[in-house]
Structure formats: structure tokens, C-alpha cells
């Protein structure tokens, strides 16, 4: 069971979260060219090893977290709130 250290709630089971994929994808402006959107929506690094990803604490504090996890050992190195302004407010 992945135990995810939510900065707001503390360590919690993966069952309270929803995995929302690669956090390193930057989405272009809404009216950016088709090619930029194609790469953001369809192509993934999918690394074996350290991976920066999004977890949504859906059955918890509803916060999105940016988590650094190793996709081979499943070891979780860090977790921080995804929303910058809120992160600063809580620090």
C-alpha cells in the first residue's frame, strides 16, 4: 500500500487518493497550436525511476499534491501542494 505524506493531512493510504498522472507536463495556452497540445495530451516520458506525479486527495482535503516517487521501488521521496499560492500561504 502506498502511504502518501499529504502536507495537510499527514501520511494516508493510497485509497484516499486519485492518481492524476505526470506532473511535469506543462499545458500550453488554450489557443496554442495543435502540435503543442498533441505533445502535452498524448506523449509521456513514462520513466523507470524517479517520477514527478500528481495525486488528488479526493477523499481527504481535496488538495492536488505533486509527489516525487520512484516507479521501480515505489519509494516516495516528497509530497507538496500543487497550488503555489496555497503552498506559500501554509508555509
Amino acid at each position: 500500500m502506498l502511504r502518501i505524506p499529504c502536507p495537510f493531512c499527514g501520511p494516508r493510504d493510497e485509497t484516499e487518493f486519485s492518481y492524476e498522472g505526470d506532473a511535469s507536463v506543462t499545458y500550453p495556452a488554450l489557443d496554442a497550436p495543435e502540435e503543442d497540445w498533441f505533445e502535452a495530451v498524448f506523449l509521456r516520458d513514462n520513466p523507470r525511476g524517479p517520477h514527478t506525479e500528481l495525486w488528488h486527495h479526493a477523499n481527504g482535503c481535496r488538495a492536488f499534491l505533486v509527489v516525487e516517487r520512484d516507479t521501480l521501488s515505489h519509494e516516495i521521496r516528497s509530497a507538496r501542494l500543487a497550488h503555489g499560492p496555497t503552498r506559500e500561504a501554509l508555509e
Binding site: C9, R12, T15, C61, P85
Partner: protein
């Protein structure tokens, strides 16, 4: 204002069930009728200001931090999300005053029902429902946590030596039946 219907209507008649031991039922289940629920949400750069407004509405010193709650005249103020407090009370209260520049207020008086779990074996029952350590040492009176109960989101408040389970109204009966189903083994009573 007319009386509010409960989602447990027809299913919460007082009774005892399961093997109650010599010292009475291990678990007591009841529904707690809320009259007002306000969601107070701060803009990130106005957290303190919104918190102060929330504290004022609840009649408490300061707005509680993560995992905590504070109870005053205006009800119980719980920190449920990084930028949000929930103010619940059994009496009707006015909409909390909050400058729109500091955040927003949302009326949720009817959105949840509160199921109260008490009794000497309440912690054992809860260990069969939610993936949290609710023993007093780890989850003292006034503690708050959002978690999941059989795939249903729920907010738990440690209160009066037992637990308030804030459940979305439409899931109220389903969670109530799960409580009854699991509590039978400890000897239980619907109060």
C-alpha cells in the same frame, strides 16, 4: 420554518441488537440534526483574514489549523481543507460576514447528515470502517479528518468521547446501514 426530513427516516427507530454484554451495548449509534453549515473559503493570500472572520462567526479565539476544530457560541469550526473551514451548528446561525476580497461563503446546511458513534467499543468499530488510527492518543477530542468509508467520502470529528461522521446526505442511509451491519458484533444500540 418547516421541519427538515432526515435521510434515515423510517430506519432509525431506537432498538438494541447483537450480543450486548453485562455492561450494556459496546456501541451507541444516533443521528445528530444540524441546523446550519457554512463553508468559509479563503483566497490563498488572505488566509489569515478569512480565518479571523470564520473565528468571529464561530465565537472562538482563532481559526483552527489542519486536523483541528474549535467550538464556540456560533458552532464548531473545523479546518477541512487547506483554504477552507466548515462551521456546523445545531442552531440556525446567520451567514458569516466575510469580505469578498478575503474569500467566499457557501451555505451547505442541508448537504450533510451527522451520524454519531459512541460507546466503549466505538474505536474498534471505526477501525473496521476507515483507514485511520482513531485511538484517543492519536485522535484526541476535537480532532478532524477527511477520509473514506467503504469508498464514500466522510469527515470525522472526535466529539463527546465518540465520533461525528459528516456524510453527504444522499449516502446517509447507506453509511447508516453499514454502521449497523458492522456494529452488531459488539452489541449495539440505536439511541
Amino acid at each position: 420554518m418547516p421541519e427538515r426530513a432526515s435521510p434515515l427516516e423510517g430506519h432509525d427507530a431506537p432498538r438494541r441488537f447483537g450480543p450486548t454484554g453485562p455492561d450494556g451495548p459496546g456501541v451507541r449509534l444516533s443521528e445528530r440534526r444540524l441546523a446550519s453549515v457554512w463553508l468559509i473559503a479563503a483566497w490563498p493570500d488572505r488566509l489569515a483574514a478569512a480565518g479571523a472572520a470564520a473565528a468571529k462567526a464561530a465565537g472562538v479565539e482563532a481559526a483552527p489549523g489542519p486536523g483541528a476544530s474549535a467550538t464556540g457560541e456560533g458552532g464548531t469550526l473545523m479546518r477541512v481543507e487547506p483554504l477552507k473551514w466548515l462551521l456546523i451548528g445545531e442552531a440556525e446561525t446567520a451567514r458569516p460576514g466575510l469580505d469578498p476580497a478575503d474569500g467566499t461563503v457557501l451555505e451547505l446546511g442541508h448537504a450533510r447528515t451527522v451520524l454519531h458513534v459512541a460507546g466503549p467499543r466505538a474505536v474498534e468499530l471505526m477501525a473496521r470502517l476507515v483507514p485511520l488510527d482513531l485511538r484517543p492518543a492519536k485522535f484526541p477530542e476535537g480532532a478532524v479528518a477527511g477520509t473514506v468509508l467503504h469508498h464514500v467520502g466522510v469527515t470525522i470529528l472526535a466529539r463527546d468521547g465518540g465520533f461525528d461522521l459528516l456524510v453527504l446526505r444522499s449516502f446517509g442511509l447507506a453509511v447508516w446501514e453499514t454502521l449497523i451491519d458492522t456494529a452488531a458484533q459488539f452489541g449495539a444500540e440505536i439511541a
